[in-house]
Amino acid sequence: MLEIENLQVAVEGKEILKGLSLKLPAGEVHAIMGPNGSGKSTLSYVLAGRDGYEVTQGRVLFKGEDLLEMEPEKRAAAGVFLAFQYPVEIPGVANTTFLKEAANAVRMARGEEPHDALRFVKLLRAKTKELGMSDEMLKRPVNSGFSGGEKKRNEMLQMAMLEPSLAILDETDSGLDIDALKTVSDAVNAMRAENRTFLVITHYQRLLNHIVPDQIHVLAGGRIVRSGGQELAAELEARGYADILSAAA
């Protein structure tokens, strides 16, 4: 699904990713863990196509195509979805309007029929309920005045409506209480499928107890310094990053 080869990225002249390689096969869930400032969000933004990130080396193939060449909306249409660590507030645009425009934009770009109004509302209601969100949040402007947890749920709602083939979750667990974490994890697990890949970025092992990944990678200093199974998360939890990093150095 996704192949990242020797990716080097600079922001404002500062090197952040320094040769990152990663292979995500279709249908798998991979987790990236790493200390603050290690470049996790940078990686997710580069994959989603945000301006201001200069790729100095390496390449990224998504379903065999050069991902870095595509505009953000093309990537979305091709199936990339990023759940933002800090979702953006858009006052004045009703959440429903936004969700509908987005869902239909990607559907059209994928050569599918746009949702008819009734079907869309039904689908949206169902997903909203699954995520423990109130209908009232659909009427409010996108993320405006939402609590941290509500914003994260709203990201998951967008993911559910956009049906991506690669979903990147950037610290979706932060800001969620235990119940919300469970609800969100259930929703993610329900979306796991053979033709869908997840890249779950997190700081804590906690999330990975609910969303059990196929592989865990540790990102530090702009590189993947270790990869392993569920036992790696336990090790990180027990010993902290410092230990692992010094061992990897």
Partner: protein, 433 residues
Amino acid sequence: MSIQTMTTAKSFVDLYAAEKARLPGADLPWLAALREQAAARLLELGLPTARMEQWRYTPALANRIGTVSFTEGGLEAIGGHTGLELGDSTRISTRIAWQDGRIAGPAAALPALPFLKIRSLETLLAEDPDLAHPALAADAESESAMALLNLALLRDALFVELGETEARPLLWSRQEASGGLANTRLQMTLQTGAAATLVEEIDSRAGLSNRRTTIALADGTSLRHVILLGEGQDATDLGEMQLRLGRDARYSVFLRYGGSGLARQAIDIDLTAPGAEAQINGLYLLGGRAHGDLTSHIRHQAPGTSSTTLFKGVLDDRARQVFRGKITVEAGAARSDGRMSNKTLLLSDKAEIDSKPELMIFHDEVQCAHGATSGKLDEQALFYLRSRGLPLEEARKLLIRSFLSEAAEGAEALRDLPVGDLLIDKQLQRLGQ
């Protein structure tokens, strides 16, 4: 006279001299005298220039006004398409069409209902000259060059008198001008208990349209007023409006300009009695070298009066917008509330906003606030929307629309017209192309 020529007050006064014998009411000595007085004063005063405080940010008027002549477009409406549908059809609605400064069609066709009287200048001068006299006499004393010009060369006017009625009549006035000079005048009185909606569309293709409006709202009346300024390429549209509100009278106006010429609307509102309320909402979407100017002065003259002004602009290319909002709270106006806000979105580095809010408060016990902000489209929001699959142009439009929606959504003037979204969408199609 070519477009490049500097137009001066003298050009207009010359036109006046040539035309005066043919102007309506030429045989009425009092009117002829007022016109004469106005022309003479105009000559002394000259056209507005950037040296005048009220016009400081709207310079080069003299270079903009091209032909100083009347255009005879034929007195038939050219069947313009508004793109707007009249609301509730059960309501009494009246359409008035203007062409090149004159009401098109025979004046007799204007309806006369028991509670609604609509008359043209010639009819009024014939039937009821005393009604026309005070306002025209006041203009002859005016220090506004545009008011003087309007009076000197006025060819037609619309006089509306509205009495108490259950219904809220909808008046729809559409002005078209194909060039040259169109001086128009609208005088409206709402008698106690009256309520109405007035929509004015001004669609000049070129030339100068110089509109003058006076509205008196008696106690307990309500007027919802929508002004849609046209999209003419080279048109210069100048409007001056004066309102007086009595006890518990409510006036709301929604103003939109999306043209590429110059449009200036001055709004003067006197809140003369307790409970009078005014709401001014507007939006400008300007590209090219368009120039939009809103100059308002709201006077709180009695206790418990309130006013809100919310103006939003989106400026692209080299467009320029002027917002001069002034609120005066006079000494007797306890518990008055005046709020004013002007927010601008700049889509280009060359676009410019000149915002000058001003509060003059002569009473302690009042609430007044003003704010002005300007900024660019939020890059973060843009990326967020694109990452959800919205193409760049769609994302931009969605953000612009959301920015503007505040001005249209809260506008009481638009309450019974299904035009809110349309007003924005139509303009959006033209921006950023």
